[in-house]
């Protein structure tokens, strides 16, 4: 009795009980309605995002100054290499231009007008990673103010990075495809067989790989090195975004489907800038 008086307020037992009930209610509410913070997000947005941007700025400027310390010889060498590469690429471009012309002519003939890769994007910086070691989510510095919405696709280095899982005013949380809870409906681009690509913390930490499963490949056509892209039938991911290369294929125990591992094209360990595609799958369907 005396102790309670000395500390004042509600005894810890009841406090714990009340807050537990609040937590359980939040859990159910969030699970049923997809609630992710509401007004708390706005407060967090104004308090944390400016500071995180500042920390990110300092961090990136330190990284830049360490890149400045290349010697003159190295730079000259790199320059020569790059020049050779430019010549190489120029010849490929002229080659490709011819092919594109031919393709568009053929498409006109077939009355096809699909521009898969012409998505409008906006660049964003990653300003925070890892609220825990268990999940691969990160925070980017653009939010609903910049037109970002939930379920928008995020790409980098020409490959799929992940999907926006919650949005605040000036920030958005992105769930990477290597996250353990992520599942992407995908297609092997050479055979057009569908499968499901799922992230795996276990395979990611040990071998930098993610998994695919449910691949229906009766004729054993899928080989190591085949490109995996997002499929047309996915309800959240836009079609034709590159995920990675097949690195192993195994027959499942049911002897009907196959599963295996995928090497992602994106280097998730050294990711600092990403592109958010400002178009969603639903609107893509409507067009």
């Amino acid at each position: 009795m005396r102790q309670r008086k000395a500390s004042g307020g509600i005894p810890s037992k009841y406090l714990l009980m009340i807050l537990s009930i609040v937590c359980i209610m939040l859990l159910f509410f969030s699970y049923s309605t997809g609630f992710s913070g509401g007004p708390l997000e706005t407060i967090a947005n104004h308090m944390f995002i400016p500071m995180q941007k500042g920390i990110d700025y300092i961090g990136s400027s330190i990284a830049v100054s360490s890149a400045d310390t290349k010697t003159k010889e190295e730079l000259v060498e790199e320059n020569e290499e790059l020049r050779a590469q430019v010549d190489d690429l120029n010849s490929t471009i002229s080659n490709m231009e011819l092919k594109i012309k031919e393709l568009s002519e053929l498409q006109e003939l077939y009355e096809l007008d699909q521009t898969y890769y012409d998505y409008e994007t906006t660049g964003a910086r990653i300003i925070g990673k890892g609220t825990s070691n268990w999940f691969n989510t990160f925070i980017i510095d653009k939010g609903s103010k910049d037109g970002i919405e939930k379920n928008m696709n995020v790409i980098a280095d020409g490959g799929l990075v992940g999907i926006v899982s919650s949005v605040g005013d000036g920030y958005a949380v992105v769930r990477a495809i290597i996250d353990d809870t992520s599942n992407v409906s995908a297609t092997i681009s050479s055979t057009e067989d569908n499968c499901i690509v799922s992230g795996s913390l276990e395979n990611m930490t040990s071998d930098n790989l993610i998994l695919f499963s449910n691949l229906d490949d009766d004729e054993d056509k899928v080989a190591i090195g085949d490109v995996i892209v997002t499929s047309n039938i996915s309800d959240k991911y836009l079609p034709g975004l590159m995920i990675g290369y097949v690195s192993s294929v195994n027959l499942d125990e049911n002897e009907l489907t196959k599963s295996g591992t995928v090497t992602p094209v994106v280097d998730f360990k050294h990711l600092s800038d990403v592109l958010v595609i400002l178009q969603q799958k639903e609107s893509y369907k409507n067009e």
Partner: protein, 181 residues
């Protein structure tokens, strides 16, 4: 009147501590990964306040640090709040055993807290989705995180200890003056 002032000051100081440690965890230490893990500074804060100030502090601080993580993790809202709250409460049970200068008990408690946090996260968020390879997660994620957290927590613990002593001294001074007045 002075009671409310004291109360507000306490809340503000704790809010700043949580604010800074969250920024450290998400902004700074996520760039300083060792063996692929980042230290869990918020667990240090919650555990330290738990065994320094008692169950009530631990519960409330755990709840709010957890909420913060929930906002920025994009998962189901309330999971971390629940886990951190119970960590704070359990640490609060050890207040009577706590003496400021001895580093052993705080280290054991913080280490155990992080271990419990890891195991609960595994059970609640991974085992439920039929990821049963506990040994792998223990060796590659839970234990490295515990070790890294312990190293960082030596500094975090002393900072919080001194901050706490300073605040208590300040409050004592204030109450003395009121008494004399």
């Amino acid at each position: 009147m002075s009671d409310i002032k004291l109360y507000i000051r306490r809340v503000l100081i704790i809010a700043v501590v949580i604010y800074v440690s969250f920024l450290l965890q998400v902004g700074v230490f996520s760039r300083l990964r060792l063996a692929g893990v980042t230290p869990n500074i918020l667990v240090c804060i919650v555990a330290s306040y738990g065994f320094m100030k008692g169950r009530r502090y631990g519960t409330v601080i755990g709840f709010f640090s957890g909420l913060l993580l929930d906002i920025f993790s994009g998962g189901i809202f309330g999971t971390y709040a629940m886990i951190y709250m119970y960590i704070g409460f359990l640490n609060g049970l050890f207040r009577k055993q706590f003496f400021g200068d001895d580093l052993r008990l705080p280290m054991i408690l913080i280490g155990t807290s992080d271990l419990i946090y890891g195991i609960i996260t595994f059970l609640v968020l991974f085992a439920i989705r039929s990821q049963h390879d506990f040994y792998f997660y223990l060796m590659n994620i839970i234990l490295p995180e515990v070790v890294y957290t312990l190293v960082v927590s030596i500094f975090v613990y002393y900072i919080i200890l001194h901050l706490n002593n300073w605040v208590e001294k300040l409050e004592k001074k204030g109450s003395d003056r009121i008494g004399n007045y």
